[in-house]
Amino acid sequence: MQGITKSFGHIQVLHGVDLSVARGEVLGLLGENGAGKSTLLNILNGVLPRDDGEIVIDGEPVTFDTPKEAQNAGLAFIHQELSLLPYLSVAENIFLNRLPRKNPWLVDWATCNRQAADILERLAVKIDPRTLVGRLGTAEQELIEIAKALSMNARILAMDEPTASLTEAEIERLFALMGSLKADGVSIIYVSHRLHEVAEICDRATILRDGKIVDTVDAKTTNSHTLATMMVGRELSEIFPKTQRERGPETLRVSNLSTAKVKDVSLTAHRGEILGIAGLVGSGRTELARAIFGADPITAGEVLVDGEQVTLDSPGSAIRHGIGLVPEDRKLQGAVLSMSNAHNVTLASLSKVSRWGQLNRGGERQAAKRLVKDLQVSPANIEQETGRLSGGNQQKVVLAKWLFSQSKILIVDEPTRGVDVGARAAIHGLLDDLAGQGTTIIMISSDLPEVIGMSDRIVVMHEGRIAGELARAEFSEEAIVMYASGLEPTKEGSKA
């Protein structure tokens, strides 16, 4: 791939990216969340069109308009989220859309199952091709995905975080399989956040940052710390409105909290503090927030608000204890897009604008007007449907909702994602002001400059657990990335 360029709207996400992989080579593709890895793979796979640049396979320039064309050219793509159909058999999944036929109307099941068995044997996988995929474990399903790729005679295999849900033993098996594919001359592009895996399985590694290639290095000889630095090493150019504050008494204490995705997490947060929660997407940050907000069932552990143990069995109970959540998915969970700004502002605290069970619509409008003005929502029209605002203004409306309900503990999950620069600064200013007035802010963010610039303290999550905690003096992008990747940061890695 040469000089690949891609923009969404006027935001350029890939700037002339070059990438090459040789026959029988495993190339690691590294980068932070949002660095452009997925976009790049989607372009290679024909899911997204490219704006500029070219793709050359075995010396021939190619253009794929659909994933089907990429498939025909020998490209196979294994997504992080498996794309198998659980109620179909292994053989049916492998030959989906390409089932061998006896004649144009009838499927040749005998041939289908035999061919599937052959491929599985090549992979040394002992699974009956007639088993329903839904009955298999995640690791086995991953192997079926690879079998599917092989059945298409894939010469180039792109794998997006294939080990994310595998155990150590399963990873060993996958790596052994990748080794034999490599020996057969298959080229593999391997995307992973786990730096030690890259050293183990990859020959070379290409590092992508902010849509540009940083460098391509020898994966065997480059140490994890260098890779981490290359992934994040950018200038802190943004000014954050961070003010010095005295940390107040403890308002929130989470002890040994576990849910389906969160394992044994303990943390505290204080009055007037912004606690940053960093970690990779899928590390359990959002699930932790949802558990504290009563949105996901807590399986073990306890939560104390102002020193008193509380039962958080629903968001309603969390709201009554003064907890608010600005969720990651603004459009489906944060704001009701079909309702007016005024209605969205009062959504979580309707009892405040009603008396004797009747809404005081005048009072509601008054309150909404004030907040919309204070937060500089534009256009400042309380009757406007929230869905018609820009992303940043929608986020301000969601924040206004919790300001109106006077939350003591406000959890914000990716507060500035998809928000323009002006709104981003406004939201940062608002969060800092709120902390200054004594609110406890818990800020989840994948945006490292943001989490470093805004937080008083940072905890980093990795695979559902707290991997490390950093005091303000210890903040550095490298330390966060190392913890987030499941490694211990080295001392010399701290910020200069």
Binding site: F293, A295, S314, P315, G316, A318, I319, R320, L325, P327, L332, Q333, G334, V336, L337, S338, M339, H343, L347, A348, L350, S351, K352, V353, S354, R355, G357, Q358, L359, N360, R361, G362, G363, E364, R365, Q366, A367, R370, L371, D374, L375, E385, G387, R388, L389, S390, G391, L403, F404, Q406, L430, D433, L434, Q437, T439
Partner: protein, 357 residues
Amino acid sequence: MPSLLAQTPKREREAAAPKTRRIPVQGQQLALVVLIVVLAVGFSTQAPGFLSPDSLENVLRSASMFGIVGLGMTIVIIGCGSLGGIDLSVGSMMALGGAIGAGLLGTAFTAANPVKLPVFLALAVALAVTGALGACNGLLVSWLKLAPFAVTLGMLSVARGLTYLVVAFAVGQSATAGVTFSNPVFDWLGLGAFGPIPTVAVVFVVLAVLLAFVLRSTPFGRSLFVLGGNAENARLAGINVRRTIVIVFAISGLLAGLGGLILTGRLSSASPLAATGYELDVIMVAVIGGNSLSGGRGSILGTVLGAVLISEIDTGLDLLNVPSFDQYLVKGTILVVAVVMDKVYQARTNRNLVRTA
């Protein structure tokens, strides 16, 4: 914004001065009014008796009966639309409500029936039972996360079966035919009038105004719109989603029971076969009124207009001697057109959302 957290809502309340009250008539409702008028003119030229007091009273009575049950359907559709909210059991619930109300009177049936309750108690029991069965619908939908379509389809059958049992008990033998009776309170409900206005119409208007107020001006009403738009959104806003769903279905069952009592009074008979298939008319009333089956959108005014339109068509086609099977054709077509219009409206809204987002 220094004083952001300091201000209290109390102050806002006092400062608030309600300004002009807009009545939110939307294009769809305007279209219904026009259609109602056009059809009235059309029917009266073809069937001169259409605008006679008798005929108009008939339209009013049947619109009110379907409308009362349609009010329940309206809040089910608005409040649970995101969950596929619909109540198919209302026809059977009407039959059951009527059968219980009449059956408990004792005087209604000649056979050996030991139960003889005062009429108001009989009415209360009928409403309590249908309300409770409606709540059962809601419990199954909210706690077991079952599809309302399946749950209420089951209840359609269960309530019909119960109706047979109640009628059989009341007449002391297995009875499939309607049993006629007479009771002043039932007569008043089904046939009575305040001057020129039928009792049932007054009941309908009172209930419609009450529910419109609830939807517009209470936290419960507001939460229905949120829940109907997106259940997860509602949960994260601290709304007790399960309780709300149970209440909504209970109200639908209760109003169906009331509609059944009115029907029984109107016919002076309680039959196990009463109101068969009425759920379709009731759904039609709500959907033609512009209540989106996908939830979160709709109005009581729309339902009222829908009820008038459906009854007008019923009565008009009857006067024109159109066979009932052909009437099915006409009403079915109108329903599909209404749903298509809703889809078009939604598509236009969504396009606007994208364009300005």
